[in-house]
């Protein structure tokens, strides 16, 4: 197959560039070549709006000489350009300061088995474009059939096929293939000045695992219409229930506070809390790059360190920071296989599911807010402070009473971790960072 030949070609390119770098005087070299294929169709009101199909490649290099580092990237893969970039990078190392922590990961003997990870679906490259377009069309059509829907943001179907090649001067050679496909739709309900909107999507490694159009359309409609005619509420402190996408959002913020990079840079309020109890017993958080078929799964990280399961928080105890090789050396820890290009990124970072169904959690709430969406920034990892615009559903006596909007939620992640009263049993891995429904004892809601 021509695809395979090309892939071998990219591995050869990486290897020959690495040897060239050695002859030019570099001590350590790491070369990454990524090749991607993208298909993306957006439809709106039954017509194709945008159709994109393309392939692209880029190369990234890290060069270390006398413990000084330089980087370069290029989407121009001609050997002349790459060799010039390599020479420049080697010369530029003189401008960086000596840094004893810099360097490639120590060579490891561990092997990896791409096949068992189930992150590549061969069906995706075979899919007929007509089928992909039809899926997006069908999803939108079902959503628009609901009379409460007054406008469409359109539906999209997207596939990506990515091949990653990694070579380093300590003898690491590795490559893997992965696929992702996703189907989504966004809609509006209500009239011009009182519109509400939301969307729903499903992303999977395997085409066969995607949620069907009916389910995606129904969720998008449901999520939209439940916001119609929102009320304002008084400023108060109440229990707040996070729906799973909101728990994922909160976990994304937690990730930025347990990233070894933020920790050694003292940009995290958790920087000096390793080994301490930072939350209650309900909280157990893992990062696991080795779960078969999940969106954050990969055999090795961007430095070639094999991924594995790492316990980040166990029953409230902060067990580990997530590190690339550099952060690990700074913190006297081990790399956890979380290197992600220039920094530290999540693999599958998730909060372990609890025992309660979402219904039980709502029933247990005398008065509170179900947080359904947030808007804006307002996260400060240095202090753990949170302040966001929010949308939600007001709960009275265990039942959903009415939607609320134009509110903000405010709190502090350090406090929230100690106030997670209930954890849901509805954990699904819809994105690399995921969590189930949770209930927080008390947050400040600002309204009128």
């Amino acid at each position: 197959m021509s695809g395979q030949k090309e892939s071998t070609g990219l591995m050869n390119l990486a290897e020959s560039l690495a040897s060239f770098g050695k002859t030019q005087g570099a001590d350590e070299i790491e070369i990454t070549v990524v090749e991607g294929m993208e298909f993306d169709v957006d439809v709106r009101y039954g017509k194709i709006e945008n159709l994109i199909e393309a392939g692209s490649k880029y190369l990234a290099m890290r060069v270390i000489k006398e413990k000084r580092t330089a980087f370069a990237t290029s989407s121009d893969l001609s050997m002349d350009t790459l060799q010039q970039l390599m020479k420049n990078a080697i010369r530029r190392t003189e401008y960086a300061n000596l840094d004893e922590y810099t360097g490639l990961p120590n060579p490891s003997k561990s092997t990896f088995d791409q096949a068992s990870l189930n992150i590549y679906d061969p069906e995706i490259s075979e899919l007929d474009p007509k089928k992909k377009i039809a899926l997006a069309m069908e999803t939108e059509k079902i959503a628009l059939a609901d009379r409460r829907i007054t406008n469409s943001h359109g539906a999209s179907f997207e596939t990506k096929e990515i091949k990653t090649h990694l070579v380093n001067s300590f003898g690491f050679i590795g490559e893997y293939k992965e696929t992702v496909c996703s189907l989504s739709v966004g809609v509006q309900a209500g009239e011009t000045d009182e519109k509400v909107e939301d969307f729903w999507s499903s992303s999977q490694r395997y085409f066969k695992d995607l949620e069907p159009p009916e389910k995606i359309a129904q969720r998008a409609v449901e999520r939209t219409v439940r916001q119609i005619r929102p009320r304002k509420i008084q400023t108060q402190n109440v229990s707040v229930i996070f729906e799973p996408p909101m728990t994922s959002w909160l976990l994304g913020f937690l990730f930025s506070c347990v990233s070894g990079m933020a920790v050694y840079q003292k940009l995290s309020f958790l920087a000096d809390k390793l080994g301490e109890k930072i939350g209650n017993d309900n909280i157990t958080v893992y990062d696991d790059g080795h779960m078969p078929g999940k969106l954050g799964t990969r055999p090795f990280d961007s430095e070639g360190v094999p991924t594995s399961q790492n316990t980040v928080i166990q029953k409230g105890m902060l067990k580990n920071f997530l590190c690339d090789t550099y952060a690990a050396r700074k913190l006297k820890l081990q790399s956890t296989g979380n290197a992600d290009g220039a920094g530290v990124g999540p693999n599958n970072f998730y909060l372990q599911a609890g025992e309660f169904s979402p219904e039980e959690i709502i029933k247990s709430t005398a008065k509170g807010l179900i947080l359904t969406r947030t808007l804006g920034h307002g996260l400060n990892p240095v202090t753990g402070d949170i302040s966001r615009g929010a949308f939600g559903l007001w709960v009275v006596k265990g039942e959903i009473a009415y939607p609320v909007s134009e509110i903000t939620i405010a709190g502090n992640l350090g406090k929230i971790l100690n106030q997670i009263e209930m954890v849901g049993n509805d954990l699904e891995f819809r994105s690399p960072i995921s969590g189930p429904t949770i209930k927080i004892q008390q947050l400040t809601i600002a309204g009128e």
């Binding site: 709006e49 199909e53 989407s75 960086a96 011009t192 003292k266 808007l375 400060n380 615009g389």
Partner: protein
């Protein structure tokens, strides 16, 4: 002295891409082979460098090259798009055919004859493109900024400096015969620092740049100013109290508060959202939407600004575009597709992140124009309220609901700024806010030249500005 960032790469697109005008005409034709109305080739070559300093040392430098071609076909209101970073004729042809597949029919357009045009203005006449400047000079700037912050006060514990420079060469050719190029420099020097005192930690941020040369950091905005400002913000926040919660009068500081105009108003005046009637403004052109003191413009032609350009990413020469005048909605920000479908003139706001992206209507430098009120008097008119000073950013949805995150501000008590306040969120709906702005100050200022706006996953450099503004009431999210 090593002069590393020499321009050793050829700069004209023919040389990067080895393509003649004849080749381009042929690809435009292939793109129309299935009956499209319009075809376009976007060629991009981008060089960028960065320097990062933290923990008292220069950690690393990097050099980045981006080369690619995007081909677009428009067929009625439908767009086909293909791109490649392999400039071989076979790959470009494949991208052209991918784009062509959106149309159904056969070639009907006449042959293309490209007419080379020059942008009529140069809004960034930078004498010495920074890529050619020596690395030593750039590293000095980085170190000076670092030390300005770290020596500012003994409570400054951590400093991070990032310097990023970029030169973007773009060429747009299309089936109407347009052939036009631009060279767009962009610089940014930013400082983040952490202050720590009795167990409390806070972060401060500052920076600047634009489509300027390195001299900018000697003549206009010095490393000392950038480092000092970031340190000062972090130190102020150490003393800051938790924000109040609830509805109250708000005064927006000039400059940084431009993010409000960008989020609450600018996005929803982008033509695509109005063509699709998803924006709350779609049926309000020519109508009164706010207080009569309000005049809002988007102007890509402000010299040296980060959001400026000589041509947009569709090759259109941009204009200062009035959006709201005297409280009346007078215009939208247009790209080619929306302008055609809405039957409105082009404004030059079709932008794209890079060659992998379809252009969409975007803001450039957006601002609310100055009014009549003395800023001091505006503050004095508030007995109890909130003064929003610096921001982390904002977000809006088409229905008009928006938030913006205030990183630092002050309480207003008895007409005076009193205690510093940290981490608050303001939330509202845009039509409501436009009506509630009841005093526009006489002190128009632009915010930091470091902003990047995101839309549909595409990033674009922007700036925004505003004078001191008073909003009669708005919800503040806080902890008290």
């Amino acid at each position: 002295m090593n002069k590393i960032f020499m321009r050793h790469y050829p700069v004209s697109f023919e040389e990067h891409f080895q393509l003649s005008p004849d080749d381009l005409e042929q690809f435009l034709r292939i793109a129309l082979s299935q009956g499209g109305d319009f075809s376009e080739i976007f060629l991009e070559y981008r060089m960028s460098n960065s320097i990062r300093m933290e923990e008292d040392i220069i950690k690393e430098t990097s050099e980045n090259i981006m080369l690619g071609i995007g081909i677009r076909v428009i067929f009625s209101d439908q767009t086909g798009y293909g791109y490649t970073n392999d400039p071989s004729p076979a790959k470009i042809k494949k991208a052209a055919l991918t784009a062509a597949s959106i149309a159904k029919g056969e070639l009907i357009q006449p042959p293309v004859q490209l007419q080379y045009a020059l942008p009529p203005h140069n809004f960034y006449p930078v004498f010495s493109p920074t890529l050619e400047d020596s690395l030593d000079r750039k590293i000095s700037l980085v170190k000076e900024t670092y030390h300005a912050a770290s020596h500012f006060d003994e409570n400054i514990k951590e400093v991070k400096i990032t310097f990023i420079e970029q030169v973007r060469y773009i060429t747009i050719v299309n089936s109407e015969g347009l052939s036009i190029s631009d060279v767009q420099p962009l610089l940014k020097l930013i400082c983040l620092c952490i202050a720590e005192k009795s167990g409390k930690r806070e972060a401060g941020f500052s920076g600047g740049g634009g489509r300027v040369g390195l001299d900018f950091f000697r003549k206009n905005l010095t490393p000392g100013q950038i480092g000092g400002e970031a340190a000062e913000e972090a130190l102020n926040l150490l003393e800051a109290v938790l924000p109040p919660a609830g509805e109250m009068p708000i005064v927006l500081a000039p400059g940084h508060s431009g993010v409000l105009i960008h989020e609450a108003v600018g996005h929803l005046l982008e033509a695509d959202f109005n063509r699709k009637k998803t924006s709350v403004f779609w049926d309000k052109l020519g109508k009164r939407v706010g207080n009569e003191q309000i005049f809002i413009y988007d102007d890509p032609t402000i010299p040296f600004f980060r959001g400026s350009y000589n041509i947009d990413d569709e090759g259109t020469v941009p204009k200062k575009t009035p959006l709201i005048e005297g409280g009346k909605l007078v215009g939208f920000l247009q790209d080619r597709l929306s302008a055609k479908l809405m039957g409105m003139p082009l404004t030059g706001h079709g932008r794209r992140q890079d060659y992998t992206c379809i252009p969409v209507p975007r803001m450039s430098n957006t601002y609310i124009d100055k009014g009549e009120y003395d800023p001091e008097n505006i503050i004095r008119s508030v007995s109890r309220g909130f003064y929003a000073h610096r921001y982390q950013g904002g977000q809006v949805e088409d229905s008009g609901k928006f938030t913006f995150s205030v990183s630092s501000g002050f309480l207003i008590e008895g007409g005076k700024l009193t205690a510093p306040v940290k981490q608050a969120t303001l939330i509202g709906t845009n039509i409501d806010i436009l009506r509630k702005i009841d005093k526009v100050g006489s002190d128009l200022i632009f915010g930091l030249q470091t902003g990047t706006c995101g839309k549909e996953g595409q990033a674009a450099p922007v700036t925004d500005g505003c004078p001191t503004l008073k909003i009669t009431s708005m919800t503040v999210g806080g902890l008290r």
